[in-house]
């Protein structure tokens, strides 16, 4: 069980996440929706401590993860697999090594620095790749793969961490629909078959409805919706995404700033 208690994150004056409290039972698959800038990424990054909450608490199985330091912090990060929109693989390393990166936290540092991984870890990596139909590309450079293939490598890397939790930050935002389906169903089966909690940031309502039994909507750093797909009606969608601003009012100030900046905007 993952619990967030009144978690807030501010960047200077800006409030990225504002008093979010959630509790997410183990093994559930949760989709997080919201406009750009709503604080979705920040929320996920606070869970594995890539960002530090300004206030509030994050608990895993009843224990706070905010005081973790050094190797225990790294162990916690390994238990939270993270996936990114741009995959963030090392394009020049081969697929297998990219997947093996998922095991570095439990290996002796010196061995990893010379890229030594024992046969058991390599076997595990191959099996994870095989589960995603990627085993025959294991020795190819990651940079030569298509986006969908790269994201599957990223899933395998995440699974290599033997995670309790997967934090996926817009994993399908740069994929075509077919690849998006592949990746989402892989995440879905990870959650159902292995009992891993999956939190996934999404931009597509339909995808969220199809794959996520529970959907959370965020706006301006706050949770504005938390429920099942059928509770997500038009009014709720408008609450999450807000009303589009009128074109006129958006344009007027822009024009005046551009003109007034001409005389002073010296560019040598």
């Amino acid at each position: 069980m993952l619990e967030l208690v009144n978690v807030t994150k501010t960047y200077g004056q800006a409030i990225a996440v504002n008093g979010v409290s959630l509790s997410i039972p183990a093994g559930s698959m949760v989709g997080i929706l919201g406009r750009s800038g709503a604080g979705k990424s920040t929320l996920l990054r606070m869970i594995n401590r890539l960002a530090e909450p300004t206030s509030g608490d994050v608990l895993w199985q009843g224990k706070s993860v905010l005081h973790l330091r050094g190797s225990t912090l790294r162990a916690w990060r390994a238990r939270c697999g993270m996936m990114f929109q741009q995959f963030n693989l090392s394009p020049r390393l081969d697929v297998l090594t990219n997947v093996l990166v998922g095991s570095v936290s439990r290996r002796p540092t010196l061995q990893t620095l010379i890229k030594y991984f024992p046969a058991e870890e390599r076997a595990r990596a191959i099996l994870e790749l095989h589960a995603l139909d990627m085993a025959d590309l294991a020795l190819q450079r990651a940079g030569t793969l298509s986006g969908g293939q790269q994201q599957r490598v990223a899933i395998a890397r995440t699974m290599m961490q033997l995670p309790d939790l997967v934090l996926a930050d817009e994993p399908i935002a740069s994929l075509d629909p077919a690849n998006a389906e592949t990746v989402m169903s892989a995440l879905s089966s990870i959650s159902q078959e292995r009992g891993i909690t999956v939190l996934v940031n999404l931009h597509s309502l339909d995808i969220a409805r199809t794959y996520c039994p529970r959907i959370i909507g965020m706006a301006k750093g706050k949770v504005v919706f938390d429920g099942s797909p059928d509770q997500l009606d038009a009014a709720m969608v408008e609450k999450i995404y807000g009303r589009r601003k009128s074109t006129e009012s958006a344009l007027a100030p822009a024009v005046s700033t551009t003109l007034s900046s001409i005389p002073t905007g010296e560019v040598a």
């Binding site: 697999g81 936290s105 995440t158 007034s260 010296e266």
Partner: protein, 310 residues
């Protein structure tokens, strides 16, 4: 250089009418033009004065070049060229007029040339080894603290202001004649300049790849190994090769102050006014550097080409 726009005047101006804005713009423009002309005049004046002073001080136009200058250069050039006889060109070294007579100490020169290359290679390798960890400290995105970044950068700049030869001159006083002061001087210069170049490559790296390793529980070293090194390694190798080219030239010159390598033979030839020998050695140095440049350029092209391919 762009000046930051003052927010207060900006909001005032947003209420201006268009004509006012245009008037203001025109006035500003003509003022700028006038200022520009004055500045240009001033710059020309300064440059002229500077040049006049410089030529005066360096004696470029002074009379002491004299009438005999052309004759002297001609005489010198003729002494630079060896006495070769086309029919005796391939005779042995005892026959005057043969190629071997000209290159009379070829074995020694080849040995010294090899020493020069080895000085350059050892210094480049050592420099790159020292520069790698320093470049992490000297990269803004990797340095553990701003003061560390600042200090390493300043020190590397400081060392770079000192030419290899001057370092070698001081080191020869400590280590005695021979290749060792040369190696140390070049290593110092190489470390300083590669630290800067490596650090710039590190700063251009995509930090998301490091973050991915961090989010997998990787520690600092593992982030560098799997997130950073694959990105920057081709660049680092290419910079090191470039530096190797420079160092071969540097090592050739270092011998002139007694720091080992082929330069020793150059200064000996000059001291004994064996100008044809000087020319022979010079040809060997230039040939070596030329061949090296071509190979290293080909390798560097391949390295950076790989980078583009990925």
């Amino acid at each position: 250089m762009s000046k930051s726009v003052d927010p207060t005047t900006n909001s005032d101006r947003s209420s201006w009418r268009l004509e006012q804005i245009v008037d203001h713009f025109e006035a500003e423009r003509s003022r700028n033009l006038r200022r520009g002309r004055l500045q240009q005049l001033f710059q020309i004046l300064v440059v002229t004065l500077l040049l006049g002073g410089a030529f005066q001080a360096s004696g470029l136009f002074s009379s002491y070049l004299g009438d005999g200058a052309l004759g002297r250069i001609g005489n010198f050039l003729s002494r630079l060229l060896p006495q070769l006889h086309h029919d005796r060109l391939f005779e042995d070294r005892a026959t005057s007029g043969s190629l071997l007579y000209w290159f009379y100490d070829l074995d020694l020169w080849l040995k010294l040339l090899a020493e020069t290359v080895q000085i350059a290679i050892v210094a480049t390798v050592l420099g790159a080894i020292f520069a790698l960890p320093l470049s992490f400290l000297a990269a803004r995105n990797l340095a553990p603290a701003v003061w560390v970044y600042w200090t390493v950068r300043r020190i590397s700049e400081l060392v770079r202001t000192l030419p290899d030869i001057i370092l070698a001159l001081i080191l020869v006083a400590a280590f005695g004649l021979g290749p060792i002061p040369g190696v140390i001087a070049l290593t110092l210069g190489t470390t300083a300049s590669l630290t800067k170049l490596f650090a710039e490559a590190n700063e251009a790296a995509d930090m998301h790849q490091l973050e991915a390793v961090q989010s997998a529980g990787g520690n600092w070293w593992q982030q560098l190994r799997f997130g950073l090194m694959p990105q920057v390694l081709p660049n680092l190798a290419s910079y090191s090769l470039l530096r190797l080219e420079i160092n071969v030239g540097g090592a050739a010159a270092l011998g002139i102050v007694g720091a080992g390598g082929i330069g020793v033979e150059l200064s000996r030839a000059i001291t004994f006014t064996e100008f044809d020998t000087y020319f022979a050695v010079l040809i060997m140095i230039v040939g070596l550097i030329f061949v090296l440049d071509l190979t290293s350029e080909a390798i560097r092209d391949r390295l950076t080409g790989l980078e583009k391919g990925a």
